[in-house]
Structure formats: structure tokens, C-alpha cells
């Protein structure tokens, strides 16, 4: 039995918003793989829960009228990985979330939960930052869409306002067209471990595939929230696709990130892993984009 004060089941998005307004203290529960564990640990003991788990309308991946890839917030990791739209346009996201926990966690964990928890090590977070995802929130005043970088306010705090729930994550066409990416999770074991470093890179090459037209790099666990690397990106954009430029690019990330010493890994190790991951990710992205090195 969970130590729970009260439980409310949402019957629609509108109903969820009403429940949020009526019970402002209550916690939202989606798949529960963070919330229920924290209830067991005592961190969320005795709370009221508003469940959105039964809202099937928030599940699935589609392409909307504006040609955005639309991922419903309740879509599970395993369904993202298996989805043909994801595989065709943003395969790296499916690969990244295929490294979360183990198979059963990937069947219950949702992309909404993985972003609303505001956790820097979340396996979807760096890729969503690197692809400039848009977060859709629905609340009493209607729908609000914001860039993912603005959604993360600080460690474990995101911009969800009174009465709101997250309803989708969108990837705009300009972001996914002709773009290929790669993600590396560095952890101590292959399954059921939290990332010590997460690096996601994607590239769009010029038509002759000789120049970096647009490169985007993002990290998880390199700071309190997932982050992009503006200096590194400015350095490589417009440059020729050569190993020399790639080496310099990888070193450049140290100007953008600020990993910390912790029991999990030292700052020096984290910096080393960050540089090496950036290099491997961009090489793999270039290959996927049809470039040669």
C-alpha cells in the first residue's frame, strides 16, 4: 500500500485541469516511476495524487498540420523507440530513451514525466534540447507552447503553472529536416543506471556534404539542468567536415559545460567523458548524414 492521502482520476485533459485547480497541493502522476518510488522513499509520503495515466488521448506520435512531430506526453519510452515516425525523422530520440532503466521501466516511463521531473540526467533531456523541442502545456487559459530551454527553470523545477499539465512535446520541421543525430549515455553499467554524462549531437550537412551547415550539441549532467553548447556550435557551423575540425570542436565543449565533482565521478573524469562523447557523437552523426571522414 502506498502512503497516499487521496486519489483523483482524470477523465479528460479538461478534467485534469479542473482537478489541478480544485486540489492545488496534489501531485500529478503519469507513469509513476518517479512519483511512486519517491512515495516509498518517504519523499512524497502522504500526498494527494491526480492521475493522468488513463488519458489515452495523450499517447502516441503523429505529424501535425504544421508538420511538427507531435509526441503525446504520456507516450512510453518503448512506444517512442518502436514508432515509425520517430525512426524515420529523429531516430536518436528512440535510441536515447531505449537506454532508460530496463525494459519494464521503458514500458511505464513517459516522456512527459522524464521532462516534467526537471532532472538533468533524464535520458531524453539532452536530445530534446539538442533538437530544440517545444513543450506544450494545457491549462485554464488554454494551450501554451514554449522552447524546452525555457521550460527548465532550475534543478528539478520546470515551468508548469497553476492548473496546467504538459500535453505534448513537439519537434518542428525546421529542426528535424535533413538532420541526423547520435546520443551517448555514459554510466557504470548498461542497465538500470543513471547517466554520469549524457551527450546528444545532431548535424545537418551542406548539399555536397562537405560543410557543417548546422550542428547542435547538448548535455545532461554537465550542469544542474540539461544545456546546449553555444560556443561550440558557433565554432563548428560553416566549417569543413574534417577530423581536424572535429577534434577542435570536441575540445571546445569545455568552454560551455561546467560539470561538478561528486561521489559518482570526478570533474576531471566528467570533462574527459564529455569531450570524448562529443567527438564520437559528431562522427556518428556525420556518417548517418551521409558525410565522409
Amino acid at each position: 500500500m502506498y502512503d497516499m492521502k487521496a486519489y483523483y482520476e482524470s477523465e479528460s485533459v479538461q478534467h485534469a485541469i479542473e482537478l489541478r485547480l480544485a486540489h492545488p497541493e496534489a501531485h500529478i502522476i503519469a507513469g509513476g516511476s518517479d512519483v511512486l518510488v519517491q512515495m516509498r522513499e518517504g519523499k512524497r509520503a502522504g500526498v494527494e495524487l491526480i492521475s493522468i495515466f488513463m488519458l489515452d488521448e495523450l499517447r502516441g506520435v503523429t505529424i501535425d498540420e504544421e508538420e511538427n512531430i507531435r509526441i503525446g506526453s504520456l507516450t512510453s519510452f518503448s512506444h517512442i523507440t518502436k514508432n515509425p515516425i520517430i525512426q524515420q525523422y529523429i531516430n536518436v530520440l528512440g535510441e536515447a530513451v531505449d537506454q532508460v532503466g530496463g525494459p519494464q521501466i521503458r514500458n511505464i516511463g513517459t516522456i512527459g514525466g522524464n521532462t516534467c521531473n526537471g532532472v538533468t540526467s533524464a535520458d531524453s533531456a539532452s536530445t530534446l534540447h539538442a533538437w530544440e523541442a517545444i513543450v506544450e502545456l494545457t491549462g485554464p487559459k488554454g494551450v501554451r507552447r514554449i522552447p524546452i530551454k525555457d521550460f527548465y527553470l532550475k534543478a528539478k523545477v520546470v515551468d508548469i503553472r497553476e492548473g496546467e499539465i504538459q500535453t505534448a512535446i513537439l519537434i518542428p520541421k525546421a529542426s528535424y529536416e535533413n538532420t541526423y543525430g547520435y546520443y551517448i549515455k555514459y554510466a557504470m553499467r548498461n542497465a538500470l543506471d543513471i547517466a554520469t554524462n549524457g551527450c546528444s549531437v545532431n548535424v545537418r550537412l551542406s548539399e555536397d556534404k562537405k560543410t557543417f551547415d548546422r550542428v547542435r550539441v547538448a548535455y545532461g549532467v554537465a550542469g544542474p539542468v540539461p544545456m546546449r553548447c553555444p560556443n561550440t556550435e558557433a565554432f563548428i557551423n560553416g566549417k569543413e567536415v574534417t577530423m581536424e575540425n572535429i577534434e577542435a570542436f570536441a575540445q571546445k565543449v569545455l568552454e560551455d559545460i561546467n560539470p561538478r565533482d561528486s561521489w559518482r565521478a570526478s570533474k576531471a573524469l566528467r570533462q574527459h567523458v564529455a569531450v570524448e562523447s562529443a567527438k564520437r557523437c559528431i562522427i556518428e552523426s556525420v556518417k548517418r548524414a551521409g558525410g565522409e571522414l
Binding site: Y2, A6, Y7, S33, L36, V37, G102, P103, I108
Partner: protein, 166 residues
């Protein structure tokens, strides 16, 4: 607030059932206490060990971090569903015995339910893929090798193919 209950209707091992359930119950609690499905083990109860694994609409879930009220409208299968009408073991259960993939047996029902999902996909997996597909389970006794072999052997048998030499 007093105790809060909710009616859930679902299909358990092929039978339609309904139950008034305490909203605080996990699916493990309901399956064990209300239906005596004691194959569903309570291990870590935080989603790490896989001892409580059941199939929900054909996919493996840790029932310890799944609320009982969410069972509504679902098809749920536990290890008990594998037994034949006269208590015969399924091929995968027999393979676990034959390969000595069981010692204390606490992790076994969970491993077998994940194996059922793997086997019913009808696909042929590599060793590396099988290891990944079974990585949501912990076993403190066997050292895993025999478990992988039991699943692999059953996979090849069901595919009607010869198992490659190791």
C-alpha cells in the same frame, strides 16, 4: 480522509473480473491479496528487481510501481496463466528446470513473464539482445547464464530451428 475505494474491471489470466480496490494498493498488492496470485513477488518494491513482473496488454510491467486502479480495462497475465489444465508446466518453465536456471526461485516468475513477452514476439534475438531484454531482472543465485540459455533454447524450439552451438 477515510479509506477510498474504486471499482476496477479487468481481465485476469483470461477471466473477466471486477474488484473494489483500495486506491493506495499497488497492482502487486491486489494480485496477491485479492486473487492469491503469489507468483507475483514482492522484492524491492521500487522497480529495480523485476520479481513482481506481469504482462499488461502483452507488455512486461513491474506491478509494484503500478497502481491497482490502473488495471481497469486491461488484460493482465501472471505466471499462473502458464499452467496447463492438469497443472502441466509450459515449455519455458520446463526449460528453466532443465537448464538449472532456478535456485531459490524468487526471481523466476518475473524472468519467465518477461520471457513470455520475448517468446511471443516470434522474433529471433541475438544473445546481446536477449541480455538487454532480460536486464530488468535481478537474480542473486544463478549468475544469469543458465537463465539466458533456458530462454534461448525455448526461443529456438518455438521457431523450429536448431540452436547454434555456443
Amino acid at each position: 480522509m477515510g479509506k477510498q475505494y474504486k471499482l476496477v474491471r479487468y481481465n485476469l489470466n483470461g477471466k473477466d473480473v471486477e474488484q473494489m480496490v483500495d486506491v493506495r494498493a499497488s497492482l502487486t498488492d491486489m494480485l496477491r491479496n485479492d486473487y492469491r496470485m503469489t507468483s507475483v513477488k514482492k522484492g524491492c518494491e521500487v522497480g529495480e528487481c523485476g520479481a513482481c513482473t506481469v504482462l499488461i496488454n502483452g507488455e512486461a510491467f513491474n506491478s509494484c510501481i503500478y497502481l491497482a486502479v490502473w488495471a481497469d480495462g486491461k488484460k493482465i497475465r501472471t505466471l499462473e496463466s502458464l499452467l496447463g489444465p492438469n497443472g502441466e508446466l509450459a515449455d519455458i518453465q520446463q526449460a528453466f528446470i532443465d537448464e538449472a536456471a532456478i535456485q531459490c526461485g524468487f526471481c523466476t516468475p518475473g524472468f519467465i513473464m518477461s520471457s513470455v513477452e520475448i517468446l511471443e514476439s516470434g522474433k529471433e534475438y541475438t544473445d546481446a539482445e536477449l541480455r538487454k531484454l532480460l536486464s530488468g531482472h535481478l537474480c542473486r543465485c544463478t549468475g544469469y547464464e543458465n537463465i539466458i540459455r533456458a530462454v534461448k533454447k525455448t526461443m529456438y524450439k518455438r521457431l523450429g530451428k536448431e540452436m547454434p552451438q555456443e
